[in-house]
Symmetry: C2
Subunit: 432 residues, 2 copies
């Protein structure tokens, strides 16, 4: 084939940067591939205006409707950068259904429509790539797909959300969560509505993509425990650093078990205390990182900018190149098996826990809290109580010995039901 | 093709682990590949004994001579894990000459025979992969090859040698270089003869492989400045940490310029002072890391265990899988162009420098040192002189403002020629 025809849907910041790079790197890509990567169509509500601004030649067909483009454009490879869920899903299924290669950076689409997408890819003999959907420009998916082929991935721990990491790491430098969020919004990488980030749901979607890639099965985003950083305060961050010598990060974790043909996974997104020497503790600001635990290669970490038009477009273009290379070589499409992924109960995951509660200054309050922990079978490693200094309530920080999550959760609920304990609190797991 | 036939030369620790993993992961690999990876031959001076110890079936042909195997074995893919230079070179050229795929983890072979190997691969239409040769199990080469296809790699800074990194980072914890080297030897990852590591030449070979992969050209290991850590003392490490707030690492660097068709590179291996917040400063013990500077994706880092049988075998098997996939898909062999790589003069590289010298306590000594720097056009940022306390000579630490390497080198030579300055000294560049 002398040319691979490409059609790009969505000319937002990532889409425009992808088109720009595709054209700017044309000669290099052609030489490396032995075939031209030819942009033949774009789709966007403002396709005409954006195409003009990008200086696209008249030969590039403009579509206002991406679904129109995906049905009609004579492309070998479609790039989906639309945003949202329903239109991207129809777009993706239409492209794969036509047997066309699809590149997307849409984590929400992948997390929510994984079974439909992988089924359509298999049925259509079509290729599917999505490096840009997790950790932006960091090539973690390709590494997991290709580089551990002869190894076994035992688990993953990732910092997959730049906004929350910015807030937590700026907090270590003295900024309050509110200040840090405002900074991140000014710097342009935090959303105006940050709830998807702060609640951990953005990380959970990415975790679903990672689990799908490693196991071939669908990790449904709502099916595992997800906690965000809304309850983490400046007090928790300074206590962690000064008293415990630890840093707080929002860590998305997978632990794999079972045979490859019958995979099982324990999944969680949770604010996590890490020793300062832990590789993930060194990840600051809006950076992302993925720590991969393997059987043979040991622990590896991938680190870089997790978002932004440049990093994401770089990942999208790498996907385009790799799929174009497969098309060019006549390599068969998606062969990965579809698995039923079994979720292991999160209740059996074992770690130490940090619990900060606000306790009304009443006699016997601490004894009742200790009782609640003991009754659930959770033993206490340390309790720290700030001096009351005239206030009606004082913060109490409890560090537990390693305990099953189910037991800790039972104790936490019991403690919060006590009349001497206020509802506002912060619970975090600890990693060694 | 129902099976890809594999022949492995060299059954040392990496070779044995590769064979073991190849057999242990057989079912998974077959399912992912759609073809069996079948071990058909091994070569080793003790092939018979090793094959028995590995429990290989009689169908796997044993060769005592690898060159005999490479000429006769009916394999699609040869794995070279022999060690040394001459036999591996003849083995590799024979395999590629037969048009067979070759996987090697031999950095010395690649660094010294790059033009011959790439020529043979092109001439024979053969595939060549060498992930295990740099940074062990960390998939840096595949990332550079595939994941930045649409991006531009501007530069690389790597910690590519575990022994020297162990010595430097243990030094920060108070161990002397001699103690730390002995520890590393006891732990089994430092060679009995550590000169190749300590001198920086091991890192230089790996840098040559990285430059070849990024540019397609040959960076001859002797053609660029290489300094090791022999002159770095406990005093330098503690001064760096306590007075400068910096860590010392042996950093191998590449900076790319020129057009892709006429690439140029500045290369160096040098002990380097890094701010404690620098990603490479957080790399401790025997870990390796590669920091990649890209135009679109920004800075990325890959981190993991750089050596050892497990990590290296994991990388070798990933190479086997990727090449087998290409063979299976009928993808054409090595298409990468061969470039003439232009070396930019190291004299024009600009950085601040650290220079520790031993100065005899004579009047005017410091003035003559300052003169030597001024005459070379190097301006001084700080001078620190330890109290003489009755000794005949005192250490003097000089920090310069940013200066061209050529100018600093001229000043250094002039200073060492002064009668009041002893020959033992330590010079390090500084990175921001």
């Amino acid at each position: 084939m002398n040319a691979i025809n490409i059609a790009v849907a969505g000319l937002g910041t990532v889409g425009r940067e992808t088109v720009r790079l595709l054209r700017a790197r044309r000669a290099e890509l052609k030489e490396r591939l032995g075939a031209e990567l030819r942009l033949v169509a774009v789709a966007d509500r403002a396709a005409e205006r954006e195409a003009r601004a990008l200086g696209l030649p008249a030969s590039v067909v403009r579509y206002r409707d991406p679904l129109d483009m995906v049905r009609r454009a004579e492309a070998d490879l479609f790039v989906e950068l639309l945003g949202g869920l329903e239109t991207p899903k129809r777009f993706a299924l239409a492209a794969l259904g036509r047997g066309k290669a699809l590149v997307t950076a849409n984590k929400r689409l992948l997390a929510h429509a994984w079974p439909a997408l992988t089924h359509a890819a298999r049925a259509g003999g079509a290729r599917l790539a999505f490096e840009g959907s997790v950790a932006g420009g960091i090539p973690v998916l390709r590494a997991l797909e290709l580089s551990f082929s002869g190894d076994r991935v035992l688990g993953l721990d990732g910092i997959l959300n730049g906004t929350t990491n910015y807030i937590l790491s700026r907090g270590e430098e003295g900024a309050t969560p509110e200040q840090a969020l405002a900074e991140a919004q000014t710097l342009g990488f935090a959303e105006k509505d940050p709830r998807l980030d702060l609640s951990g749901r953005d990380s959970a979607q990415k975790l679903s993509v990672l689990a799908g890639l490693v196991t071939g099965g669908w990790l449904r985003p709502g099916a595992f425990p997800v906690a965000g950083i809304e309850s983490v305060t400046a007090r928790d961050l300074s206590f962690a650093r000064e008293r415990l010598g630890m840093a707080v990060r929002l860590v998305a974790s997978l632990r794999f078990s079972g045979k490859p043909a019958a995979p099982a996974v324990a999944a969680a997104v949770a604010p996590t205390l890490l020793p300062l020497g832990h590789p993930l503790a060194a990840v600051r600001r809006q950076y992302n990182a993925l720590l991969v635990h393997t059987a043979s290669a040991g622990d590896l970490m991938f680190y870089g900018q997790g978002a932004g038009a440049g990093p994401t477009a770089s990942a999208v273009l790498a996907d385009v190149f790799v799929l174009a290379r497969d098309i060019q070589g006549g390599l068969p499409g998606a062969a990965a098996a579809s698995r039923r992924l079994r979720l292991t109960s999160p209740d059996h995951a074992v770690s130490s826990y940090y619990l900060r509660i606000e306790v009304l200054d009443r006699p016997g309050a601490l004894a009742r809290i200790a009782d609640a922990l003991a009754n659930a079978g959770v033993s206490i490693s340390a309790i720290h109580q700030d001096p009351a200094s005239g206030r009606r309530s004082v913060p109490v920080m409890i560090i537990t010995h390693p305990a099953e999550r189910g037991r800790f959760e039972r104790a936490r609920k019991r403690i919060l039901s006590l009349s001497s304990v206020k509802p506002a609190h912060c619970a975090m797991r600890m990693m060694a």
